[in-house]
């Protein structure tokens, strides 16, 4: 099973071990931006359409 920690978009938090952020690039019809939301490293990523093997 792939987990979030296996993904290129996952960035572990230096000051909070065991936690991390999923940071992704989005280009919408009007602008480009980086977005983030919290993720645990062991979260199941097998259903994630954005998963990219590290």
């Amino acid at each position: 099973m792939s987990t979030c920690s296996d993904c290129k978009s996952f960035f572990p938090r230096e000051d909070e071990p065991g936690k991390g952020d999923c940071v992704r690039r989005v280009v919408d019809p009007r602008q480009a931006y980086y977005t983030t939301k919290p993720k645990n490293p062991e979260d199941d990523a097998s259903g994630c359409g954005e998963f990219q093997k590290r």
Binding site: D28, T35, T36
Partner: protein
Amino acid sequence: MTAEPAKLDVSLQEHEENQEWWWIAEKKRSKRLDYLRKAVWKKGALGGNYAPGIKVDLEGPKLFTDMWNFWKFDPIIMRRAKALAHVFDNISIFITDHSQIVGYWGSAPHTISWRVDGASIVNEELYNEPGIMPEPEEESLRKVAEINDYWAGQTAVDKVARILDPEDAVKFLSGAIGWGAPTSAYGYSGKNYEYYLKGERGFEDIIADIEDHIAEAEEKTIGTPGPDILHIYDRIQNWEAMITVLEAAIRFANRYARLARTMAEHLETDEKRKEELLRIAETCERVPAKAPRNLQESFQMDMLIQTMCRFEASEGAWPARPDYYHGPFYEKDVLQDKTLTEEEATDLIGEFMIRAYEVGGFGPRWAREGMQGITGTWVWTIGGVKPDGSDACNALTTAFLRTARLIRVSNPTFAFRWHPKVSDEVMRECFECIRHGLGYPSFRHDPILVANCMNWHGHPVEEARTWVHQACMSPCPTTKNGVQPFRMASATANCAKMVEYALHNGYDHVVGMQMGPQTGDARTFTDFEQLFDAWTRQMQWLLSLLVRTVNLGRYKDAEFYGRPLLSGITERAVERGIDAVNPEGERGNCWITGFTWVENADSLAAVKKLVFDDKKYTMDQLITALESNWDGYEQMRLDFVNKAPKWGNDDDYVDDIMLRCLRTLAKHSRVMRCTSNNTWPISPQNVSGNIHYSSVVGALPNGRRLGDALYDGGISPGPGLDKKGPTAVLKSCGKIDHVGDGRAFLLNQRLSPTQMAGEKGYQLWRAYMRTWADLGLDHIQFNMVSDKTLRAAQKDPEKYQEVIVRVAGYSAHFVDISRKTQDNIIQRTVQGI
């Protein structure tokens, strides 16, 4: 990216000669600002509908609802604090390319937020709104249905509705006499800027103060038992809720800092952008935890707080005084330390305005139609005086005005506090904004409005002088006891109903029910006094019903809703351990927004003239014609339009009736009392309620038919009915006592762009403004876009995306308002000076 301006080309001069300011702006602004300006997703409804691509944000509502349910046994204020903290900790956040200021009320740039706990009727409307559900639509609808089922019966409005008098509830909810919701879930929150935005205090300082209060209170609870200590338990709970959410707010800012650092260290290749991202990170690590040290930190702190408050409640206004509070940082960074160039500062100012412009939340149809093209009334106050009475204008005042002309957003707009010491330089900058067709700044007469604040609500002069626009028009101090933490839009009266009901014995022929008191069959009235007496009783009934509803909502709000974050930034609440919406210690600052007001004076004058004085028609004939919507009575209708005097022509016949109406109302304003036991003055204005209510107000004696647009402004003459020129308009409006007759009076004027061209145009306008000031009017605003441009924009909207017009209490992009509203603006008299 540097603040490098786009290369100018020869056609710039051509555009200037043609007064095509929107194209000039596009060419003159920096590449960064041009990118950010064009990147905005329009959240204001186009007419009544959302733009393609706009989607409701379901991430925030789901997070909030999950945690609200999890903490179901907590008191309301703590429950909200914990649920809000959960949203701050988990919702998706983003940083747009080229941006330097962060913060958005939603999980992605194209989303509009949804207040789930405000009103079930709004939630149901969202479920039925086509086109705004995220894909896959079916799954989103299922999610919305689940959330709606959870909140049904326990939203703030559901709770108020249960205890309202049933008759009041039905009439209030009819939509005929007012609008809004009696809860702070959708309120206009005044902000206690004197407490938190002076660069002296950060959230960590407030938290330390609160911890001291808790320690002191806990000491009392373990002392001698007695009833005097019982209230302390509630206060401790409130303080703890404030700390919970203030700490979460600091973490929310730190999430942006972490994202910016991740981008700089792992994802960005451009060295210049890396530096900017690291600056964003340092800024968000600093504020709001600690007091800001420079302009970027000051803007960022303000932006984050405004954003976070919107996660707590759908704040429908954005009271601000940005030049006053951020000005010292601008002067330090740009003029003294020179750590920022003027161009770099312009980029920050422009982005600050763009960040505000892109904010949007879901609004029900009545709100969207009533405020077409915008998502709230972000009227930012600039200019004015300091608490000691000296001129408060600074270098940032003019910088904001110059930047506004580059950015051309319709939200925020500016309102300028004019006073006799304002310099010519500042006046010229204001005029340039008007000449460039922005429709803003509106002008506010500072000495009059300071006196007005003191007159109606007893604010001491030093506090009155801090005033900002709490919404479109109403001045409100920003001090500990003067600030009004929320004002509910539901004290908004559809005033044309006063005269309509006086003519129909309180019966509403449009909605088909008895609304007002039975004041007699108007067919039997034999003199004007009987009609005026009926009008007075209808007016008193209508206002009292709305104010009763608002007062109840306000009184119960801390129990039914609660605002822990707003409380944490409100000195009075922090000091006492109360919810900010609790009126304890507040001086009160209420007002009734008076939509469709001028129809009363014109209608009453027409009846007096043609029925009772000239005896050309009988009351029986008039009522029959009105009941027929003037259908079959066209000649008679034209007589009522053309042969009766109309407001705005310096004609005492009708002007005296206007004053009598206002003064009769003002007397009732002093009888009705708010939750702070203070007065309820009226502020006639329309937002765009003159269009929204056009299908709700029946035929009137001023010649109006059901469906016709109503007059556009609080004391603005009817479109095309002010025939005696601009001075006559000012003289009519100058007869009003702008201190004692009400809270504020909106006046729209259209000026000719051709006549206002060049230095001569400026001097003409200055002379006009001197007359305005001498006559003591409290407000004026201008449309200065030609019919030619507006008609071209109607034909080819894509080319005129940045053309702005003044609607009623706000500005909007012309292409974003309905055809009916567009036509109404074109119909207004262009005043030659």
